[in-house]
Each structure stands twice: as structure tokens, then as C-alpha cells.
């Protein structure tokens, strides 16, 4: 009566599942397919920007919500003699360069940054891996630094150059001007009321609260305003984007 026996159906189902996996792995090898999947990033970014006010704030927590231990991730101590020398005199000789498409390139010491208006925020740090830690960050709003340096209106991205190396590749990240001008985007030099520990990015790290952890560049040395990310290192806008194909937009 029935053409399909139960055994045939179960067998076909198992065979289908068995084909699915190698099939997906093969699809992943295809650059065209990867580019198709990457549409998800653009659609998500567009949709999130659509439903979100440019200045919508990330949740700020009470002191009681602070993680007992703020997990350090990625580089814990940058290698090399240059960083060791900076660390030896407690970053007194460290300077943040701000240049690229700006009217007045700057070189700022920690004291100069600290003399600018300060913002503190108790926010959640979300790693792309899935964990979260809450800490109280204190620092200089990035917008104030950008106003001081006079970013040209043809600049579309800020590139954050870092002191830490992965093999021979320096860590770097980039954000667009919407996130750069966001009120919670700060250059943080303190965590939980103390100067930023080395393992969390001393002397200065970026906080860009509406994106995942890998965007929050640590060990900042230089901020460069650019019109395009194409010519910067691997061209995808960040170390993990270049090396491991992570998405540039990390709002989800």
C-alpha cells in the first residue's frame, strides 16, 4: 500500500542528516556562499540602527551588580621592550596620538586626558564567546577628543592602533562615526575606581558599549581618522576581522 516504509523514511532521514554536515562544511569553503551569509551582518546592522536611536544608551548598572572578578581576555601583557618601558614608569611617557583626517593632530598624555571632563559608567562587557562581566569604567568621552582634534567631516571611521601584537600582527579595531560620537563611547583609564590594570588594557582602552568585547581595543597608542578601512592592515577593520573572519559590526 505505502511506497515508503518506515525503515525507508528513517533511513532517508539519517542519510539526509549525514549529508547536511559535510554539505555545510563544503558550502563554507565557497567565498561566494560566505559572502551571502555575510549579508546577515549588514541586514542586522541596518535593522538595529533602524530601531535604535543613535544615542540610545547601554544599560548602566548599580555598584552591586559589578562582577567580583572582571575577566581579562586576549592579551594580558603586551610583549616587546617598548611597552615594558612604558609600563616601567607607570605610563608617564605614554602618549596617545590622534591623527589622520584631522585638523590638529594631537599627542595626549594620561594627565591631559584626565584633565578633560570625565565620564563614569557601570556597564556590561559582552564577549563574542558568550560570557559577560560588569565593571565601572571611568574615562574621557571620545567625542571631546575628536572635537579637540577637529575630525574632518570626510572621515568615516576611527582606527584604534594598539600596543599588543598577535604574532607579527598588531591588534587594531575600528568604529564608525555613529559609535564614535555616542555619549557612552569613552577612552577609559580606570576600572572599578582604580587605574586600569595592565591585563584590562592599561593605560587606555576603548569602551564602545553597544558592541561585543573584541571592538573594545586595549593598550591604545594611536587613533587615526580615515575615509575607508580598505588600506588599513588586512582591510576588514580589525585584527579578528582580518585573521579569523569575524564580523566588523559586532552589535549582535
Amino acid at each position: 500500500m505505502s511506497i515508503l516504509t518506515r525503515r525507508a523514511v528513517v533511513g532517508a532521514g539519517l542519510a539526509g542528516a549525514g549529508l547536511l554536515l559535510p554539505g555545510c562544511d563544503r558550502l563554507d569553503q565557497s567565498p561566494a556562499f560566505r559572502e551571502t551569509l555575510r549579508l546577515g551582518e549588514r541586514v542586522s546592522m541596518g535593522a538595529q540602527r533602524l530601531v535604535s536611536d543613535r544615542t540610545a544608551l547601554a544599560r548602566e548598572f548599580d555598584g552591586g551588580d559589578i562582577s567580583p572578578v572582571f575577566r581579562s581576555n586576549g592579551t594580558r601583557v603586551p610583549g616587546g621592550t617598548d611597552y615594558a618601558a612604558l609600563m616601567a614608569d607607570k605610563f608617564a611617557n605614554w602618549r596617545l596620538r590622534v591623527d589622520g583626517m584631522v585638523a590638529r593632530p594631537l599627542s595626549l598624555s594620561l594627565a591631559q586626558l584626565g584633565a578633560m571632563p570625565v565620564r563614569s559608567q557601570t556597564t556590561r562587557h559582552d564577549c563574542v564567546e558568550g560570557w559577560s562581566a560588569i565593571g565601572r569604567w571611568t574615562g574621557t568621552p571620545l567625542k571631546l577628543v575628536l572635537d579637540a582634534t577637529g575630525v574632518r567631516n570626510t572621515a568615516r571611521y576611527l582606527v584604534f592602533h594598539c600596543a599588543d601584537l598577535y604574532g607579527a600582527s598588531p591588534y587594531y579595531e575600528s568604529i564608525d562615526m555613529i559609535d564614535a560620537l555616542h555619549p557612552q563611547t569613552i577612552l577609559a583609564w580606570a576600572l572599578n575606581g582604580r587605574m586600569l590594570p595592565v591585563e584590562n588594557g592599561a593605560p587606555l582602552r576603548l569602551r564602545v558599549e553597544r558592541q561585543l568585547g573584541y571592538k573594545h581595543a586595549k593598550y591604545l597608542m594611536r587613533i587615526e581618522a580615515v575615509a575607508s578601512l580598505a588600506g588599513v592592515y588586512g582591510g576588514k577593520g580589525g585584527y579578528w576581522e582580518d585573521s579569523n573572519d569575524y564580523e566588523w559590526y559586532a552589535g549582535i
Binding site: 555575510r38 549579508l39 535604535s52 544608551l57 551588580d65 572578578v69 556590561r124 560570557w131 559577560s132
Partner: protein, 276 residues
């Protein structure tokens, strides 16, 4: 020999199209989601949670074994979870094994690309199906009535299912209470719950829609609920496939492909009618 049992129209086209679409999309979401979990095999309750914070669920490994820990209970899972061999025979210590994940070899970035692309293929048709369900009354067919929810009725239906006495005759055209509870639960509770807990894990969405954090009790609670809903959905799929096979796969699959279902005749003893 011709079959004289009547062929009846059982499933409307939106049900059939959405069903097969989801058969692919949901499996990809499940398997890529397991790979994303592999990046951090621990679950927490509350706003935050990382390695030094207490986890309520953990899939991990010792020197030579794998384990699943839920609360204080630890179950050995060597070979399947936490400690397993990949296709080359090498020992891997990720939570879920390669045969259950997309991609099969560890890659968080690739899994995220699959998951966050297919999420759109789940959400957009899902919203359309929801609208259709409410406009065309499909949701009413799946909503349990007060009588059906009486414990006696539910128990009787469980007994009938356990004895593999599936509804026959006209009763087979309506959803029974266990079907209603599971389909209603999947379509109107689990799937939207998965989408919303997924959004609650997005730092940008938490800024746009802060109520997500209040509804689910924090990003790490949302991640835990996302995982639990995934496990329930996976359990539903297993039982659903089992039921299709037991109830007659040819007739069941045909009705979901073409819409036409051959109505099983009323049973002589009509015991299944107890539940009607």
C-alpha cells in the same frame, strides 16, 4: 486495489511551506547554535557571568573524560560531550561534538555567520506565518479549549498516545490536546522566546530595547533561557519525527507536502473516542 478511504485536505499551503522551510532553517539554527555554545560551555543566571562566577550548567572535561554538570549533579559524557574524537581521531574538548555542529570543526566566527543569517530566514517567514495564523484562524485550531485542558482529558490522551491509538475518522482531522499543546507551545512560545532571548544577548538591542533585559532578568539569564528553549525544541523535533513514523509516515508526509490526507476509518471499538 484502490483505497476507498477518503482523501481529505488537511494542511493549508502556508502551513506546508513554513513547515518545510523551517525543517531546514531550524536545523541550521540548532547546529550552528551548538557551535556558538562551544565557545563558552557554561551557563549562568543574572546580568553577568564568566569563568570565575558560578555556572548552573557546564559541559567540560577532565584529563581523560567529559562531563555535563547541572547544579550539583555531574554526569559522565565521555565520547559525546566535552571530550570526544573528531573524524581524524584527534581528541577534542569542546562541548558539542563535530557531528552535531555547523561547521563541524571549531569556528565561532563561521557559526555566528550561519546563525545570524539564518536567524533572518527564521524571523521573517515566522512573522508572516504568525500574521496568517491570527488572520485566518489557524491559531484557534491550535488553542486548547477549557474542556481539553481538564486533567482527565489530558491523561486519557496521553494513554491513547502511549498505546499508539491515534485518532481516527473525523477526530483525525482536528488537533488533539497533546498536539495542540506542543504545536501551540512551539509556534507561539518557544520560537518567539528563542528570538527574543537571542535579541537580549545583543548589546545593541539591549540599548535599543532595554525591556529585553527586564523581561529575561539579564543577558546571562537570556542566554540560559535561549539554551533551554533550544533543548525543548530539539526534544519536540525528536518526538515529532517519532510520531510521524508511528502514525504512518507516507500519509503524514504526503499531507504535509500536498495537503491531502487519507482519513483512517473509525475504529470498531472506538475506544479512542473516550477523549473526544
Amino acid at each position: 486495489m484502490t483505497d476507498e478511504r477518503p482523501l481529505v485536505k488537511r494542511h493549508a499551503w502556508p502551513v506546508r511551506v513554513w513547515h518545510w522551510w523551517n525543517a531546514v532553517v531550524v536545523i541550521v539554527m540548532l547546529m550552528s547554535g551548538l557551535m556558538i555554545f562551544n565557545a563558552h560551555g557554561r551557563l549562568y543566571w543574572g546580568q553577568y557571568g564568566a569563568n570565575t562566577d558560578p555556572a548552573w550548567l557546564e559541559i567540560g572535561s577532565t584529563a581523560d573524560s567529559g562531563y555535563l554538570k547541572v547544579g550539583a549533579v555531574q554526569v559522565p559524557t565521555t565520547g559525546v560531550l566535552g571530550y570526544w574524537q573528531d573524524s581524524t581521531g584527534a581528541v577534542q574538548r569542546r562541548a558539542f561534538p563535530g557531528w552535531a555542529t555547523i561547521p563541524s570543526g571549531y569556528s565561532l566566527s563561521a557559526a555566528r555567520r550561519w546563525h545570524l543569517f539564518f536567524a533572518w530566514l527564521l524571523v521573517v517567514p515566522g512573522v508572516l506565518f504568525w500574521l496568517w495564523s491570527f488572520v485566518r484562524g489557524h491559531v484557534r485550531q491550535l488553542t486548547p479549549t477549557r474542556n481539553e485542558l481538564a486533567p482527565r482529558h489530558v491523561l486519557a490522551d496521553i494513554r491513547n498516545h502511549a498505546r499508539l491509538r491515534f485518532p481516527a475518522g473525523q477526530a483525525a482531522l482536528k488537533y488533539n490536546i497533546l498536539q495542540k499543546l506542543s504545536y501551540f507551545g512551539v509556534i507561539f512560545v518557544l520560537l518567539p522566546g528563542l528570538v527574543l532571548t537571542g535579541l537580549a544577548m545583543s548589546p545593541a538591542m539591549d540599548a535599543a530595547w532595554p525591556w529585553l533585559l527586564d523581561v529575561f532578568g539579564g543577558r546571562q539569564s537570556a542566554r540560559s533561557l535561549h539554551f533551554i528553549a533550544m533543548a525543548l525544541l530539539a526534544a519536540f523535533i525528536v518526538v515529532h519525527l517519532l510520531m510521524v513514523v508511528l502514525a504512518g509516515p507516507y500519509n503524514e508526509i504526503r499531507s504535509m507536502v500536498t495537503g491531502w490526507f487519507r482519513l483512517p476509518p473509525e475504529r470498531a471499538d472506538a475506544k479512542a473516542e473516550e477523549v473526544a
